[in-house]
């Protein structure tokens, strides 16, 4: 299974199939489905940012929704001011990145939970702040925009056009993000996550790389805000609510921390879970989503991305063994009995 995937030809074929599916998908789908697909792209970008700062660099951020919201507000404002789309997009990236940079310059001195607490403050303060400036944000009623209609003669419905736009931007951002987390910068992120002392001795300033990761996360957050407005065409303080941040963190881990593919899977989970839960019983969504989250992690502690590995494991390890010994085998003792925090999580194997 693994070997098969390792072959370049198989990988290429797979990529082509996925590309074709992505391109063909919206043509025959309903506007509802296209909306879901587009939302997946929107949140995949937000999750990618979160994964860079949290999954790859190990800095817990509970503030990603604040940047999503900020990007969305900027986009909505820009549309109302009738700025060109490209300008809006750039601003949606630059301003949140700048805000993220400023926050990080102070916050990156902290680590672990202290940092998490400071980032939690972003959405919590962001909500009343957004209500303070109704001219810019539309206050608590929020602000509606109506833009990105399919160009005449394209033969596309609005939702299809928006889907293509959003997915195209997301794909480009994903390629950039993927490049970033591999190679020189990615290795620096990883060592900042696992051991700052070693990072220092390699000439890597953990502080700078944390600030960098945080800034990139904010940039992706802002960009996803732009995409959000492209798809939802509406934003309000609820967009940046703290609950969204928490759900994003959960989705990131469920997809697969420090994994590009995991990020996409996480976004699918993030968007589809409420829909599926509503389908099962719309008055019991909390119960269903909580149970689903636990179930997924129970079966796949490494996230959805570890599914193939897990299957391979189960196939190979058909031989039983008592539950205890199997549980123990899942986490072999590292020779070093140092505190757990230094243990790196199961990271996606990088191709080499």
């Amino acid at each position: 299974m693994k070997n098969l995937l390792a072959r370049p030809i198989v990988r290429l074929l797979l990529a082509v199939v996925i590309a074709v599916v992505i391109i063909v998908a919206p043509i025959s789908s309903s506007s509802f489905i296209n909306y879901q697909l587009s939302l997946i792209a929107v949140f995949a970008v937000a999750l990618l940012g979160l994964n860079i700062v949290m999954g790859y660099t190990g800095q817990v951020s509970l503030g990603q929704s604040a940047f999503l919201g900020l990007g969305a507000y900027i986009a909505a404002y820009g549309v109302r001011q009738e700025w060109p789309v490209v300008v809006i997009f750039l601003l949606c990236c630059i301003i949140p990145a700048a805000v993220g940079l400023l926050v990080a310059l102070a916050a990156a001195r902290l680590r672990g939970l202290a940092l998490a607490m400071v980032t939690i403050a972003l959405p919590i303060i962001g909500v009343p702040l957004a209500k303070r400036f109704p001219d810019f944000t539309g206050g608590s009623v929020g602000s509606t925009v109506s833009w990105l209609e399919a160009p005449e003669g394209s033969g596309l419905a609005d939702d299809q056009f928006r889907y293509y736009l959003v997915v195209a931007i997301a794909v480009v951002l994903f390629i950039l993000g993927r490049n970033l987390v591999r190679g020189r910068i990615g290795r620096a992120f990883a060592i900042v996550k696992s051991n700052e002392a070693v990072a220092l001795s390699m000439g890597i300033s953990p502080y700078r790389y944390k600030v960098l990761a945080f800034t990139i996360a904010s940039l992706f957050g802002g960009a996803s805000g732009f995409l959000y407005i492209a798809v939802v065409q509406y934003t309000s303080p609820e967009t940046l609510s703290f609950a969204t941040s928490i759900n994003l963190v959960a989705a990131m881990v469920i997809g697969g921390s420090a994994s590009i593919l995991g990020t996409v899977l996480g976004a699918i989970y993030f968007v589809m879970l409420p829909v599926v839960a509503g389908q099962i019983d719309s008055s019991r969504t909390a119960l269903i989503s909580g149970a689903a989250l636990l179930l997924v992690l129970f079966l796949l502690p490494g996230g959805l991305v570890s599914l193939p590995r897990r299957i391979a494991q189960l196939v190979r390890g058909g031989r039983g063994g008592s539950p205890r010994s199997r549980a123990a085998a899942d986490r072999p003792p590292t020779g070093d009995t140092a505190p757990r925090t230094t243990a790196a999580p199961e990271a996606e194997k990088q191709p080499r």
Binding site: R187, V198, S201, M202
Partner: protein, 269 residues
């Protein structure tokens, strides 16, 4: 290679944590291209001294110069610029990553391009990455780790971790290398192999090396000079042979049975 082995001079280094004086007026001078041994009882302050040199600790007073340039105020992440590399007493590897990925980290400061060029995969980034990979593979091969390059570090026995750290340090193209107990956990045969390779490494890479070790056989085999620390202060400085016969050193460090051990000095000496 144009880089020339560095010269390291410490003057009157003091370090304290709370009420504890960890280092007191430690001075030492390591000539360019030499292998210098740092020994002493547990808790004498050897690792702390390394930490001061590498910028992980800030000495409360004293001066550290590398090739005459004062580095004592610099942060640890700037020290690669001065050609410094080090290994750790407790190997600090990413256990889930492969050996190759682990050592490539050492190439960080030699790779070209910042975040933007790497995100855009500019040609120079890929070129320098390729070069680093080749070099890493060669070094691993040379130190006998060629066939485990693609194994996750966590699956190797701890004895090998020291060597992986050495390769990682070498990849940063240092001129001054600090090794903290590089032979701990190695068996007798392996220590001999290590002795052979460390001299080769010094010559081929044109390095100055400071070694902390409790393995006296290794110390006397490879070092040009040693300094003995005790309770944070210099006890004596001289050749390894002088140190081993110094009654103060025997008293504070080697113990009575040490003579037996000295006799087991390996042939490489």
């Amino acid at each position: 290679m144009s880089a020339v082995a560095a010269e390291l001079v410490l003057r009157d280094i003091n370090l304290r944590f709370g009420g504890i004086k960890v280092l007191q007026d430690v001075s030492m001078a390591v000539e360019s291209g030499r292998i210098f041994g740092l020994v002493g009882p547990n808790g004498a302050g050897k690792t702390s001294l390394f930490n001061c040199i590498s910028g992980h600790y800030r000495a409360s007073s004293g001066s550290i110069t590398i090739d005459g340039v004062e580095t004592s105020g610099k942060s640890a992440s700037q020290m690669t610029k001065f050609g410094l590399a080090r290994t750790f007493q407790h190997p600090a590897l990413q256990l889930h990553e492969t050996v190759l990925e682990n050592v490539l980290l050492g190439a960080h400061s030699t790779l070209a391009g910042g975040p933007v060029s790497w995100a855009l995969r500019m040609p120079w980034t890929t070129r320098s990455e390729k070069a680093a990979r080749t070099e890493a593979a060669e070094l691993l091969e040379r130190l006998g780790l060629g066939d485990v390059a693609d194994t996750p570090a966590g699956e190797l026995s701890p004895g090998l971790h020291k060597t992986i750290e050495l390769v990682r340090a070498l990849l940063s193209k240092p001129r001054l290398l600090l090794l903290d107990e590089p032979a701990a956990g190695l068996s007798h045969t392996e220590v001999e192999a290590f002795i052979a390779s460390i001299r080769g490494v010094r010559d081929d890479f044109d390095l100055t090396i400071v070694i902390v070790e409790h393995h006296m056989g290794l110390i006397s085999a490879v070092t040009d000079r040693v300094m003995v620390l005790d309770h944070g202060a210099t006890l004596m400085e001289g050749t390894a042979r002088e140190a081993q016969s110094d009654p103060r050193v025997i008293e504070a460090y080697l113990g009575q049975a040490s003579t037996a051990e000295v006799s087991g000095e390996p042939a490489g000496a």
